[in-house]
Every structure is written in C-alpha cells, then in structure tokens.
C-alpha cells in the first residue's frame, strides 16, 4: 500500500489531525518574532539611555520593564492560542472546514502578533530614550508610552478575536469528513479570513508604533503640550488603524461566507 493510500485509509482523519498541531506551531512561531525584536530594541535604547544618564537608571529600567511586558502581550496571545490548539481533542475535528479554521486561526494570531509587538517596542524604546534625555518628564512619557503601546496592540487584539472565532468555528454541523463537495470553498474562505486579518494587522500596528514613538519623543521634549500631542497621536493612530479595520471587515465577511450554509 502506497503512502497516499495509507494516509487516506481513515478518510483523511490523520491528515486532518495535523491541522491543529501545524496551526499551534504557526501561531507561537510567528508570534515569537515580534516581541523579540521589539523588546530587544527597547532594551538597547534603555542601555544607551542609562549610559547617557546613569543617575536615573532605576526609572529607565522600570519604564523598560513595563514597556517590555506590554509588548509581550501579543506573544502571550500567540502562546495561549498555541496551547489551546495543541490541547484540543484531535478526534473532534469534524471536517475539512473545521481543520482549515484551525489552521487559519493559527496563521491569523501568529501573523497579527508580529507587527504590533514591534510597534509597541518602538514606542517603549523612544520612551526610555526620552526619559534618558529629560528625566523630569518621566510620568508623562510613561503615560504616553502606555497609551501608544495599547494603540499599537489593537490590531493584534483584533487578530486574537478573529482567531478565537476561527478556532471555535467547528466547520458546520452535518458535514462529514468525506464530503468534499461544497466544503473546499468554505475551507478556503476560512483560510482567507485568517490570512486577511493576520497580514492586514502587520502594517497598521507598525505605523501606530511610529506614531506612538514620535509622540513619546515629543512629550519628552515638550511636556507642556503633552495633552495636545496625545490627542494628535490618538487621531493619527485611528487613521492609521483603518486599514486593519478593512482587514477585519473582510475577515468577518469571509467567516460569514464560510458559515452561511450551516
């Protein structure tokens, strides 16, 4: 018996079970990229800032740790989805639509986590540099950093929401594993939704990271106008986020398309 006959002997159940493990690997693998880069960049800027102002090393270190903890959020979300994917019962995948949903959820969460972690890292890097330059503006810079990082993470949170939706899609009731007619297109729709949200979250998050990093630098230079800078940052970040909203809309439409028949 050839390899394909062996693989298809159970109607493809073995192949289907690989979906959730591959998806778990994709989720945590991609999600590990961004936090590493972002947190490392922040740490490098913190080292430079301490070399510039050793007197406020404690404040710089504290801000660095808070910023790193927040940029870690998207990595944690990827890890959690990977755990959920790995720990679920592989025999419970009903059909190929459900399998594609699992794959799509892993891809979505993993890809969405890259950009926002790097963006959040950019924000906290500028914040620690700003504190190194102007230690007396520390509280305002930290507040701006928190808001900027939270804005940069919005897209990965949207990715998490879509990933949870795809994770729990179930593939529709009454569809067997051997039913190919009508399921392949729906499986493709789920995959497309995951890819749309995952890749679509990359750029906006990086862009919001630029906005937030410049805002942190601006607040450190000109703390008197912190309120105006924060509001401008908010508006700019909202405009920059609009393309991620496009992706969210397309992902939800594709999810609705895939689930329409069931």
């Amino acid at each position: 018996m050839g390899i394909w006959e062996q693989l298809w002997a159970t109607g493809g159940q073995d192949l289907l079970e690989t979906c959730q493990y591959v998806a778990g690997g994709l989720s945590v693998g991609f999600a590990a990229i961004g936090p590493g880069v972002g947190e490392g960049y922040t740490a490098g800027k913190a080292v430079a800032a301490i070399a510039r102002q050793p007197a406020v090393a404690g404040a710089i270190l504290r801000t660095m740790l808070i910023g790193q903890a927040i940029s870690e959020t998207s990595g944690i979300l990827g890890l959690v989805l990977a755990f959920l994917l790995i720990m679920r019962d592989p025999a419970a995948i009903a059909n190929w639509v459900a399998g594609a949903g699992l794959l799509a959820s892993g891809l979505c969460m993993g890809l969405a986590a890259i950009g926002s972690a790097v963006g959040a890292g950019l924000v906290s890097a500028e914040a620690v540099e700003g504190i190194g330059r102007m230690p007396e503006t520390q509280s305002r810079v930290t507040l701006t950093m928190l808001i900027g990082q939270a804005l940069a993470q919005n897209t990965s949170i949207l990715g998490f929401v879509v990933a949870m939706l795809l994770f729990s899609s179930g593939g529709g009731a009454g569809v067997d594993i051997t039913d190919w007619a009508g399921t392949v297109g729906r499986a493709g729709a789920l995959l497309g939704g995951g890819i749309a949200m995952g890749i679509g979250a990359f750029g906006p998050a990086l862009g919001i990271g630029f906005v937030g990093s410049r805002a942190c630098a601006g607040v450190a230079q000109n703390a008197k106008h912190a309120g105006a800078i924060q509001r401008t940052m908010f508006v700019g970040a909202a405009v920059s986020e609009s393309t991620a909203i496009y992706s969210l809309v397309v992902a939800l439409i594709l999810y609705a398309v895939a689930m329409a028949g069931s």
């Binding site: 939270a150 919005n154 000109n222 309120g227 105006a228 508006v235 909203i245």
Partner: protein, 366 residues
C-alpha cells in the same frame, strides 16, 4: 448524608440567552459572578474602613489611598478639560480599583486550600469548590479565580463605557455633528442654500427616500424576526418618509453654512472602528489575564515548586496592575477623544503644539 450532595457542583446555573440578547451576553459563569460580588464586597469594606475616620495627618492606609487618588488625579486632569475633570475622576478611579482588585483576587490561595480540604474530606471530585449541603439545597463557594478571566466581565464594562461615551458625545456635540463624524474625512465642502424653497424640497425628497427606506428596512426586519403583520414595513416606511419630508420643509432654524460632503463609503468602516476600539480594549484585558491563567495551568502541570509562584507574581501582580491601569487609561482617553469639541482640535492645531513639537520631532533628535 454524603449521597445527598450534588455530584456536579460546578456550573450551578446555566442560561443561554435568546437571540438578540446573545449578541451581548455571551454566557454565564457562576464562579465569575460569585467572584465579582466578592470583589465588590472586599473593595467596599476595605475602602470604607480606610476612609471612615480621615485624619489631617494620614495613617498608613489613608496615605496609600491618598497617593493612589493623587496619581489618578494627575492622569485624569492632564487628559480632560476643566469641566469634565471632577466628574470623571471618581468614575475612572472606580474602574481602575475594580479591575485592579479583580485581577489581584486570583492571588488568594483559596483554590489550593479548598482542594486540600476536599482531598482531606475524601471527596476530591469537588475540586476547588467548597460545598455546603443543606436539606433545602447547597451553597457552593468557588476557589479564587479572577473574574477578568471570563470575557463577560470586561465586555460588560466595555458596554457601559461605550454607551457612556457615545451618549456624552451626543450631548456635547449635538446629534448632527456626532453623526457627521462618521462620514469623515469629507469629500469636499459646499454651501447648501437652505433658505431657498427648491433646496428644501430637494433635501426633503432625498431625506424622504432615505428615511422611508430605513423605516421599510426596520419593518421588514421586524416582520422577518417576529412575524409581525406584513403591512408593518410599508406603514413604517411611509410614516418615517413623510415625517422626514415635513421636517426638512418646515425646520425653521438652520442657518446656511458650509458643510462637508459626507463620505458615504467610509461610514461603515468608521462604525466598525468604533466597535473595534471597545472590543480591543476588552479583549486586551481578557487576553492578558486568561493567557496568564492558561500558561500558569500548563506550567504548573509540569513544574510544581517554585516557577508557578514566580509566574503568578508576574501575571497576577505585574501584568494585572499594568493591564488594569491600561484599561482605565484607555477608557479615559477614548472618552476624552470622543467628547472633544471640534474647536478644540483647531485650537490644538493652531497653538503651536504641532509647529514646535511636531516639526522638531519629525526632523529627528538634534
């Protein structure tokens, strides 16, 4: 006596809400609601005790509270205008303390204590719940879990904040300006000659079409959902359309001024964006706490002694505190941006914040 005890103490009640409600209420968890009430009780008792006899020279608890209030006051006062500050400080402070305590309440060791008690009493199937059985029923006291671990907790707060900020925005700006924001960026500007009779009739016809279509759609939806009479849609459409036409004809005070051309294509994206910001705010809190719980569960099933405690310190204390603060600050800032007046933006643009801070930061550090 032992036989009378229930076999499944978890999930005492389960309630699946009917259709329109299940979009908002996503589930019911006895543990979450119990822990929420516990948090409210703890917080009320602690704060009530702390401020019962305020002194001029504060004691230890009062000093800590005063520091917290001052910290929050700095944050709120630097974000909001002078007329909103005093109203918003208690609100934001309450949200922060509530979410913070909810994140920290998972650090109580009652989970392990209840499990040990159950093991000692030789009924390990009760897990981490303490069950008291009476003749008339049972009382289940669950072990400590963070209520924020359930998505309904932040989602409930998010619904409240959503309605609060949009109602406030409508109060501040008026319905027209509020709705106009959804159609921004405008496609251009034009001067609508509203004093002319033909302009009123043209606008009335347009609005009659729009409102009539809306009414018909609402009627058709009601018809589809609850099988109302089939002519409800037509009556609603005609009534709304005529009402809009008459309003456009006779509305007396509408000074002709330059208005923006509404961008119809951007409106759905703006509306989804408004929901997405609340959604991401809630899921950030939920994802962090839930993620910490999942990771803790996985790690503690592999390594027992030290690492879980350190992780609990990180996820419970550090992440819990930071995320509670981020949640309340985001709530504050979203509300501040939403209720901001239009003049204030122009003021911001013209007072030099952009020239001074913006240009030099755009050119990079000196």
């Amino acid at each position: 006596m032992e036989d009378a005890l229930p076999s499944v103490p978890n999930q005492v009640l389960s309630w699946h809400p009917p259709w329109p409600l299940n979009l908002l209420i996503w589930g019911y968890s006895y543990e979450t609601i119990f822990m929420t009430f516990l948090v409210v009780g703890l917080l009320g008792a602690l704060l009530g005790l702390a401020v019962r006899k305020p002194k001029l020279v504060p004691g230890r608890i009062q000093a800590a509270l005063e520091m917290a209030v001052e910290f929050l006051r700095d944050v709120v006062y630097s974000t909001l205008g002078p007329e909103d500050r005093r109203k918003f400080l208690p609100f934001i402070g309450t949200i922060f303390l509530y979410v913070w305590t909810s994140n920290l309440v998972g650090l109580l060791p009652t989970n392990d204590i209840f499990e040990a008690v159950n093991r000692w009493a030789d009924r390990p199937e009760y897990g981490q719940n303490l069950v008291f059985a009476f003749r008339s029923g049972t009382i289940v006291i669950p072990g400590a879990v963070e209520p924020t671990r359930n998505v309904n907790f932040p989602w409930g707060l998010g619904i409240m904040i959503f309605f609060l900020m949009h109602i406030l925005a409508i109060q501040r700006k008026g319905m027209a300006r509020y709705l106009d924001e959804y159609f921004q960026p405008h496609l251009g500007r034009f001067r609508w000659p509203y004093q002319k009779w033909w302009a009123r009739i043209a606008m009335g016809l347009f609005m009659m079409g729009a409102a009539g279509g809306l009414g018909y759609a609402i009627g058709a939806f009601l018809d589809h959902q609850w099988a109302t009479q089939p002519h409800v849609a037509r009556i609603l459409g005609v009534a709304l359309g005529l009402y809009a036409f008459v309003c456009c004809l006779v509305r007396p005070k509408f000074e002709p001024k330059e208005i923006g051309v509404p961008n119809l294509f951007i409106a759905p994206l703006n509306i989804i964006g408004k929901f997405a910001e609340i959604l991401s705010m809630c899921f950030r809190l939920f994802g962090n706490i839930f993620g910490g719980a999942v990771i803790l569960l996985m790690i503690s099933s592999v390594v027992k002694p030290v690492l879980p405690i350190m992780l609990q310190g990180f996820f419970g204390l550090f992440v819990g505190t930071v995320q509670a603060f981020v949640f309340s600050v985001l709530c504050l800032t979203y509300t501040a941006v939403e209720i901001r007046e239009e003049e204030e933006v122009e003021h911001v643009v013209t007072t030099g914040a952009v020239e001074v801070g913006g240009l030099s930061t755009m050119l990079g550090p000196p």
